[in-house]
């Protein structure tokens, strides 16, 4: 976070409330220019809310967002033309595909190359301009519409591109194309990218850093596993929770038995053979998925334990040495004191 350049976003005590419920609370956060940050987290964890706030589409209930060192607000002319958001729900205007993509360019006063820019943007998301540019907005499949909406943002060559689930209804090939377009944007225009997605392997592939959101709280960098409540007493200073398959989670006693807890992935030990070691908790699980992060050569592993899914990023050698293929039963071991509570106050 302390690179030479000043952060492009600095967030101070940001809160967003909807109808009395707090949807997001970010005490402090900085994002470096040119970074590609991924946001992951369950439904309703606040990803879209954070993106809307960073895109200055909504006003926060309280707190400040500094853009390049200065506080900013919706309609700030410094921001309008530089920060763009691809909303989760892609909305196309009642115009042709071409006009939808060209809209933002025209707002700025189109240069003479606007047609090329539109065509380039369409090609970048895998839509042949000759085939799609003249179509009306409604003559598109779901994934095509999603990609047109993205093309409209890419055409702006923005300084900050916020993408809310850009690959949600997009085929694998296009997801790959979107990944390349995102990286190209950073390389060509220095674009800072912030991307929310439920496709973990895609997210790890694209992003320099992936942040976890849970119940409105942001956990920058590193993967985590979240243990939702409710918890019950388990003797001296410990709480426990029963999983669907009958195993027990153990955590140090907290303050609110309905609160969720979490543990960082690097504090988990994954092994084929059970580890028996004093006060540690040992859980049996199954390897569900493995996905290569081509950029780093590491592998994202998803393990199912009861109804929980646990995600860790491992080196391929670790996998090969332990011999963990999908379907293999493995053991996950952790120390209860490594479990932390999420403060929901």
């Amino acid at each position: 976070m302390s690179s030479g350049k000043p952060p492009i976003f600095r967030i101070e005590a940001l809160q967003q409330h909807y109808g009395g419920r707090r949807a997001l609370f970010v005490p402090h956060l900085e994002i470096a220019p040119g970074a590609i940050v991924g946001l992951m987290g369950p439904n309703g964890s606040g990803k879209s809310t954070l993106l809307r706030l960073l895109g200055f589409i909504e006003k926060p209930s309280s707190g400040l967002i500094h853009f390049k060192g200065r506080t900013a607000a919706p309609f700030d002319p410094r921001i309008r033309s530089r920060v763009t958001l691809l909303p989760q729900d892609p909305y196309l205007m009642n115009r042709s595909v071409f006009d939808n993509v060209a809209y933002g360019i025209k707002l700025r006063g189109a240069g003479s190359d606007s047609v090329q820019r539109v065509h380039r943007a369409l090609a970048a998301v895998g839509l042949a301009p000759a085939q799609f540019a003249r179509r009306p907005w409604f003559a598109l499949s779901g994934g095509e519409a999603q990609r047109v909406a993205l093309a409209a943002r890419l055409a702006l060559e923005p300084e900050v591109l916020l993408m809310d689930e850009p690959t949600a209804s997009v085929d694998a090939e296009s997801a790959e194309r979107i990944r390349r377009a995102a990286l190209a944007a950073r390389d060509q225009w220095g674009t800072t990218l912030i991307v929310a997605s439920h496709d973990w392997s895609w997210l790890f592939e694209v992003c320099d850093a992936v942040w976890h959101l849970y119940a409105g709280t942001v956990f920058p960098a590193g993967t985590r596993t979240f243990f939702p409540g409710p918890w019950e007493q388990a003797g001296e200073g410990a709480w426990r929770r029963r999983l669907a398959d009958g195993q027990w989670l153990i955590a140090p006693a907290g303050t609110d038995p309905s609160a969720p807890a979490y543990i960082e992935s690097q504090k988990l030990i994954l092994s084929r053979a059970p580890m028996v070691e004093g006060s540690r908790v040992v859980l049996k699980g199954t390897v569900l998925r493995q996905a290569l992060i081509r950029r780093t050569g590491k592998v994202v592993v998803t393990v199912g334990i009861g109804e929980l899914t646990l995600t860790a990023v491992l080196a391929p050698e670790t996998l090969r040495n332990e011999g963990m293929a999908p379907g293999d039963g493995i053991f996950v071991t952790y120390a209860p004191e490594d479990v932390s509570w999420i403060d929901s106050s």
């Binding site: 115009r95 700025r108 943002r153």
Partner: protein
Amino acid sequence: MEFLLDGFVQAIILLVHLDPETYSAIRATLWSSSAAMAVSLVLGLPAGFWLGYHNFYGKHALRTVVDTLLSLPTVLVGLIVYAFISRQGPLGEMGLLFTLPGIAVGQAILAWPVVVALTATAVESMDRQLSITLRSLGADRRQLLLSTLWEARFGILAAGVTAYGRVMTEVGISMMVGGNIKWATRTMTTAIALETNKGMFATGVALGLVLLAIAFAVNVSLSFLRRQVR
């Protein structure tokens, strides 16, 4: 009954070789209604957008007031405008009484709530995503207004056409403010009222049909706005 048929025949005759009296009334109607529509659209569209787009305390109450103004009786508008532009009124100096601009002022007042209420409804019924989309693509406040109105154009068109119908057909203002002066402020509707008062029902019907024909021509020329995408 037969005066309907007579009126129909007479209407065709009137349209085929326009006599100068009818022509003068058509001109007066088109002049005042166009001017009134221009004013009420310029003042009504932004107000309607504002009312439909924003959420603020008292919005519902304001909507109810605007809706109430849809029931503004034309004669009342006529009387109020008359009070201001009568020679002894505060704006008497402007000499608007018994003129087409005077009528247009009154008709603009009549049309304004229609434009505002229906524009607000049209804007309100737009997907909430539209605003997010426009703003995320870099629209400033003015562009947001214009693009939203353009996206809501079917609704806005309905607002305009409804207001236009109200203005075209009103009698009270034209009568009170315009005075139904032959060759000058006699509009189609005051002419119809006059003919009907004289018992010339067929002529009244004929003029009414001519008025409808004009409205039809205006609507046809606007129907390009109905096309979906270019």
